[in-house]
């Protein structure tokens, strides 16, 4: 290489190296601040507002700073599996349990402290004790009475795969919430019937981006019926009811897969850089104060631990007549596979 050329190139190289060094130093140092060392890293698939409230109250009580990495259940679950032991995560919180099982089966969870498990009733946590339920939510049908009468509503979630429901219901198959509902169908009906049901759904359902958009579409009269989780509706009713004003809810009950109660999970990673603080955080979330934030705040999800009761507007959790399912048996990857096969993903 001629020396002129080398000189021409050297200056930019030096500049690049300097800049890149600057960038990465800026990132790892405490100055710039998104992840100062010593902060507890929570991979958060729960609603960001809720976890933020938990984190702020926890920091106030313990002085431990918390940073959130937000994402979807299966996105963060798969991310933890791919990161393996290199992960910087301390705690994993989800909205539904299939992603928890995924991480559990990869052997990446540390056992949850006995004292923490003791405040959570057995039906809301896996027998393994590798993670625990932190909240619960119920599947519901939201419908528009202007388009469909209560008498015409389906009696089972499974009915919605029948030809007469073509173009008459909507859901958000791309999201972990609905994928959890599908996992209940797989668990209660078996793989083959679930596959058939998903094929029917691919024919019949209008696909929306998430539960809120689904509910809004029902409210606007785009489709008569939507399958969502209960708290989106109660939350909107509690606010201005912009997206749910004319709609009503229908609970399947009767241990139908459509009455599925999904358990949100929390766990501590085996390789957590801050294992003790992580256990403290999880204990805080299922403790009295954490569950009260859940039960009394804006969330409208069901508390599951420390005997904290849900908002009075909500029907009691034990009266929903949900199918009895061990949360740790729900198979996330199988659901993704079946839904991909049916063309829903």
């Amino acid at each position: 290489m001629p020396s002129r050329l080398r000189h021409a190139l050297l200056a930019p190289v030096a500049l690049t190296a300097l800049l890149l060094a600057g960038c990465s130093a800026g990132n790892s140092g405490a100055g710039e601040g998104p992840t100062p060392d010593g902060s507890l890293v929570v991979y958060n698939a729960q609603h960001e507002e809720l976890t933020k409230e938990w984190a702020e109250a926890f920091t106030e009580e313990t002085g431990i700073e918390v940073v959130l990495r937000n994402g979807d259940d299966s996105e963060l679950g798969n991310q933890l599996v791919q990161e393996g032991t290199a992960s910087k995560a301390d705690v994993f919180l989800t909205e539904n349990s299939p992603a928890m099982s995924l991480v559990e089966q990869a052997g990446l969870f540390a056992p949850v402290d006995e004292a923490t498990l003791a405040v959570v009733p057995e039906q809301y946590r896996p027998a393994s004790g590798d993670w625990t339920g932190i909240a619960a939510r119920s599947t519901v049908v939201v419908y528009n009475p202007e388009l469909i009468s209560a008498a015409e509503l389906p009696t089972s979630l499974l009915d919605l795969a029948k030809p007469e429901w073509k173009g008459r219901w909507g859901a958000a198959p791309g999201k972990a919430d609905f994928q959890a509902v599908v996992s209940a169908v797989v668990e209660t009906q078996g793989e083959d019937r679930a596959r058939e049901w998903l094929e029917g759904m691919a024919q019949n359902a209008t696909e929306y981006r998430n539960n809120i958009v689904t509910m809004k579409a029902v409210n606007a009269g785009e489709v008569p019926v939507g399958v969502i989780f209960h708290y989106y509706w109660y939350r909107d009713q509690d606010a201005a009811a912009d997206d749910s004003g004319v709609t009503k809810l229908h609970y399947f009950g009767n241990q139908d897969p459509g009455a599925f109660v999904s358990v949100s999970g929390g766990g501590v990673l085996k390789n957590a850089p801050h294992a003790d603080e992580a256990q403290q955080f999880l204990a805080f979330v299922v403790g009295k104060q954490g569950q009260q934030i859940l039960g009394e705040g804006y969330s409208f999800e069901y508390p599951v631990a420390s005997d904290v009761s849900a908002k009075s507007e909500l029907p009691p959790l034990d009266g929903l007549n949900a199918p009895v399912i061990d949360p740790s048996t729900l198979n996330g990857p199988k659901v993704i596979e079946l839904m991909t096969e049916a063309g829903l993903l």
Binding site: M1, R4, L5, H7, A8, L9, A11, P12, V13, L15, T16, L19, L20, C23, S24, G26, N27, S28, E32, G33, P34, T35, S39, E48, V67, L68, R69, N70, G71, D72, S74, E75, L76, G77, N78, Q79, V81, Q82, E83, A86, K88, G174, K175, A176, Q179, E207, Y208, R209, N210, I212, V213, K216, A220, E222, I336, T340, E341, G343, L344, L345
Partner: protein, 495 residues
Amino acid sequence: MLVAVLALGALVPIAYVVQAAVAMGWGELATLVLRPKVGELLINTVLLVMIGVPASAVLGVGGAWLVERTALPCRRAIAVALAAPLAIPAFVSSYGWASAVPSISGLWGGLLVAVTAYFPLVYLPALAAIRGLDPALEESARSLGMGSWAVFVRVVLPQLRLAILGGGLIVALHLLAEYGAFAFLRFDTFTTAIVVAYQATFAGPNAAALGLVLLLLCLALLTADSLARGHARYARVGGGSPHPPARLPLGRLAPLAVFGTGCLIAASTVVPLASVVRWLFRADTADIGGLASATAQTLVLSLAAAACAIAVALPFAWLSVRYPGRLSRLLEGAAYLASSLPAIIVALALVATTLAFAPTLYQTAFTVIMAYVVIFLPRALVPLRAGLAQVPESLEEAARSLGVAPLAARLRVTVPLLLPAVCAGGALVALGAANELTATLLLAPTGTRTVATSFWSAASSLDYPTAAPYAIVLVLLSCPAVALMFAHATGRSLR
């Protein structure tokens, strides 16, 4: 050497997709690619490009011609207004439309929003090209008996061919890469499907398989473009200085032309902005802290991206201006190719590659900045090349003959002369990075929130009022870049 390494770095996304496809094996790849859902996505994406690009070309060229060559009333204001949509990121425009008219969705909704957001990418080059035309050619054609329409089709359009093709290609690449705008409108393309697959499986096989199809579509577009360019040359001898063109009187068509451009401006700018402002009045003022911190983080990331992009672009530009040849063209081509790839593929590749080979870089600002550099490199490269070409090497030689050391001569003579180009290129990169959504969503370090991702998280849960202040900041951040581009297209200086 260095440039080759950088060029290879730019090709990481392609390497990732190909490697993932090979690792999957034919069987798994076939079951993931050859299924009805992919066919559906293919139809959507192809229709989007096939309708969206010609529509943008018609609007862009028509607008430029009306503004430059006819006696359109208020044409100066209209000339600026037709470029203004570039200042509204397509996903913000889509949010404006979707919240104003909730029933908008699907292919036609996607086309409405995307075409009104992207037609200025044809309009600006067409405007520049029309301004550069010598009216003498058109007058000769006219004197030979052609009517106005025939002159436009047979004399003006052929001379605009390269501008239209170039702009059309950029529109097409944007349509392939757009995520946010289509997600709001329930319109599925490969990019939106890859994001959904990513949310369901992280960087799993389904995302990579869809990425492979998207990559092939992108390569097909680039090939089609280079074939369409052909080798035709339009040359003329002794141009001299052209006199200003006569403007075509519109007569009774004037109200129609004003109405048409008015509708276009309303759809592309007024509706989205009015919608954002309407939500802004309902916004919660308590969130100002969040907005400030997101803006600060965005500024840090995008300025770092600008600095790094300039640093990477300099050797490329230097090589291609001072040592032109087949090799330098090849390396530059690699940089352009990488930046034509949809951001989602670049992001997926960086997630997978850093996780596998450089876990310490994974989830750091470094990786986000690297993605920005790959995506926006041409924005720095083009002005730097032009700037460097205007700095005569002899100035440096003169300085050295006066006894200045080589490196010092470069720093004291060439670098100051390059400064305007560095600033322009850096500004364009920074503004692009500040508005980037797709790659930022996947790559942002834990705890980092940019204006675009904050907007996205609020708007996705239909919290329109909370999203509005972020939308306004995104628009304000885009304005300077659009002013730069408009000034460049019309040959005016901003100073």
